[in-house]
């Protein structure tokens, strides 16, 4: 083993619990992460890029849940996968337990793989159909050489119990189970290596409503008992609000607003967040009509070779001259959240204050 590997492994084993929910010593810290997909590879035309994830920064503390919401195709899964180094990021840095993961070889990653896991959206496709439930849950322990081989089966049965399945399901095949049960199998697999960070990529969107609540309860129970952190991806706003401590709203690869749940839901700043919250379906039709908000129409721009301005400017009701000129940076607000919108630049906020104009939040 070379010294670099030893160092990394050492660091992984002797990491210190990061208790703070702050930014600096968070469990997971992501700085300016980008993932561009190269499209149109053939021919002599210049290469085009799809900015699936564009300069996103975030952090997740211990036992914390960071929710990620956004429309389909806005890059939520790509963000989760780039964080876990499944997709090699185009730019940016990812720190886990304070150690930079970007640039590590797969071999050097091994000790970290154990500590970060993922729950997948499709409970049908994420389990190998030729493996028994026991083999599926045992495999992470085999790969990471956890527990003596004789004990692993017992551990599998404990995990099955923990996720609400029966120990004698161990010899069955995934196709014998319903969607919710398969998701439980997937959860048991991620727990096998005792991770401290789990990316949950829409773990409930493929399930029945009644079963969604069961899975959410299970995830919350696991967090209470083991102190695991989640990056929880979803497009169901109320579910994300329920489970998350902080939240990030994504639009076409950008994290447009990022902050504590109460602030983002209570007083959304970014025009897109406000659009999203107002378009959330309301169960009661009477109330839905009463609170109906005009949704600005506008074409959803193609994420491929997007124009230079803010990706939201084609649908935005509060457009400024600078919006079409260049992509806005993340502006940190006094209340601690960050907003990627020129309306919230230092200058614009000062102008509004000088003229006694309320922030656009108040107009709604």
């Amino acid at each position: 083993m070379n010294t670099a590997t030893a160092e990394v492994q050492n660091a992984a084993e002797t990491f210190e619990a990061t208790g703070a929910r702050g930014e600096a010593d968070a469990l997971f810290r992501v700085e300016g992460l980008s993932k561009f997909f190269e499209v149109q590879k053939s021919g002599f035309a210049p290469k085009k890029y799809l900015k699936a994830v564009d300069r996103i920064s975030l952090s997740v503390g211990k036992a914390e849940t960071l929710g990620i919401v956004g429309e389909s195709g806005c890059g939520k899964s790509t963000l989760g996968r780039a964080i876990l180094q499944i997709h090699k990021p185009t730019a940016g840095k990812v720190f886990f337990h304070g150690i930079e993961l970007t640039g590590l070889s797969e071999k050097q990653m091994a000790p970290f793989r154990r500590r970060m896991q993922m729950i997948f959206q499709d409970p049908y496709a994420s389990l190998n159909p030729r493996y028994t439930v026991g083999d599926i849950i045992e495999e992470p322990m085999v790969i990471h050489k956890l527990y003596p081989p004789a004990e692993r089966r017992r551990r599998v049965q404990e995990l099955l119990l923990l996720v609400g399945l029966k120990p004698d399901h161990i010899r069955r095949y995934p196709h014998e189970f319903s969607g919710g049960q398969r998701q439980r199998i997937g959860i048991a697999r991620t727990l096998a290596t005792e991770p401290d960070f789990i990316v949950c990529d829409e773990p409930i969107s493929a399930l029945d409503v009644s079963i969604q609540a069961q899975i959410i309860n299970l995830l919350e129970k696991i967090q209470r008992e083991s102190g695991v952190s989640y990056l929880f991806i979803a497009h169901d706003l109320s579910m994300v609000r329920h489970i998350s401590h902080r939240i990030g709203v994504m639009y076409l690869g950008s994290m447009v607003e990022y902050g504590p749940v109460e602030l983002v839901y209570g007083a959304p700043l970014h025009p897109y967040t406000r659009l999203l919250l107002s378009s959330e379906p309301i169960a009661d039709p009477k109330r839905a009509r009463a609170t109906h908000v005009h949704i600005p129409e506008g074409e959803l721009p193609s994420p491929i070779d997007a124009p230079p301005g803010c990706p939201f400017c084609s649908r935005c009701a509060y457009i400024l001259p600078e919006c079409t000129a260049s992509r806005p940076p993340d502006y940190r607000q006094p209340d601690g959240r960050t907003v990627r919108c020129y309306q919230y630049s230092q200058r614009r906020r000062q102008q509004r204050r000088a003229f006694g104009v309320a922030d656009i939040t108040a107009t709604q």
Binding site: E106, R113, Q117, F177, T190, N217, H242, D284
Partner: protein, 336 residues
């Protein structure tokens, strides 16, 4: 029956849960329709059990075997092929004739109790020679299929899994091999290495593994995008582990089917080569050489040609039926 009842009970339970949720929404939810934490109650133990086992326990292989055994043609093929294999292995042991034992006193005799299929122009027992021929034909078929499988799976699997430039390079090599007629390889190798089984095997294998490689590659390209392959990566599985333990076992169906069509092809190639005179040489017998030997007397002793031709036909038909049966049985979509 019992399962049905359980299902109904549980769907009822599910409906109750969602109904009570709706009622809660009407009463406790604020204007913005935000669901507050206190709406989420932990389920009690009985409801946790509410999802049922959807299908009875049956492994993939057991399922496929059951479907295969229902296919009459495939089963017939399987029985006939088994008989041919058993005869080829044990038949010569129980016969007091050998493949090269000549009996000048009874040449070109017809069927009799002593010589079931008669004798050839040297007085050799045709039945025993057919059995020896079966040994060679089946060996050529199975060994070349085995080599093709090993090489094709490894090559196609790696090519498909790596993708990108490596895949492109590896597939161009396959294209080049594919572009040259396979008989050309065989004949060239026979000329270089002599007429024996080894060079026949090399000649057949050098070109026919590419079709296996192509099939495996396209399967792996499909499978590697599925989430369980990503899941294996996330839990820390190495590339080799993902390819060999996760992806390839899911490509088993097409691999086995391709294999069952490769065997008759190899048998046919060997017979053809022996027939045109570049294959197995005297006194060894293969089905191809038997036809070749008897060809000169086809007007006088037609049966001497008919027996080996029948043997080839029966074997190849059986293998094809088995192949068809397997491709149906291993493809759950064709479930009957």
């Amino acid at each position: 029956m019992e399962m049905d009842m359980k299902m109904r009970m549980n769907t009822n339970a599910g409906v109750n849960v969602s109904m009570s949720m709706n009622m809660n929404m009407d009463t406790n939810v604020d204007v913005n329709m935000n669901i507050s934490d206190d709406l989420f109650l932990p389920l009690d133990e009985s409801e946790k059990d509410s999802e049922f086992i959807a299908i009875e326990s049956r492994s993939f292989i057991a399922d496929a075997a059951r479907r295969f055994s229902r296919n009459k043609l495939a089963m017939a093929g399987f029985i006939v092929l088994s008989a041919v294999v058993l005869l080829a292995i044990f038949g010569p042991v129980f016969s007091h004739y050998t493949f090269d034992g000549q009996d000048p006193s009874s040449r070109n005799s017809g069927s009799s109790l002593a010589h079931w299929f008669g004798t050839d122009k040297f007085g050799r027992d045709i039945f025993v020679r057919l059995l020896y021929g079966a040994r060679i034909s089946l060996m050529v078929g199975f060994v070349s299929a085995g080599i093709n499988m090993a090489v094709g799976i490894a090559y196609g699997g790696i090519s498909g899994y790596l993708g990108g430039k490596a895949d492109m390079l590896m597939m161009r090599v396959v294209d080049i091999i594919y572009a040259i007629p396979s008989l050309l390889y065989v004949i060239l190798i026979m000329l270089a290495l002599g007429s024996n089984i080894r060079s026949i095997l090399i000649g057949i294998c050098i070109s026919s593994w590419v079709s296996m490689a192509r099939i495996v590659r396209s399967e792996i390209l499909k499978l590697k995008t599925l989430e369980f392959s990503t899941a294996a990566f996330v839990i820390g599985a190495s590339k080799a582990r993902i390819l060999f333990r996760h992806l390839l076992i899911n490509a088993l169906g097409p691999i086995i089917v391709t294999l069952t069509f490769m065997i008759p092809q190899a048998i046919f190639t060997e017979a053809f080569l022996s027939f045109v005179g570049v294959g197995i040489s005297a006194p060894f017998a293969s089905w191809g050489t038997l036809v070749q030997d008897a060809r000169a007397f086809i007007d006088i002793y037609p049966m001497q040609v008919v027996y080996p031709v029948l043997a080839i036909c029966v074997t190849i038909f059986s293998l094809n039926f088995i192949g068809d049966g397997l491709s149906d049985a291993l493809n759950p979509k064709s479930r009957r």
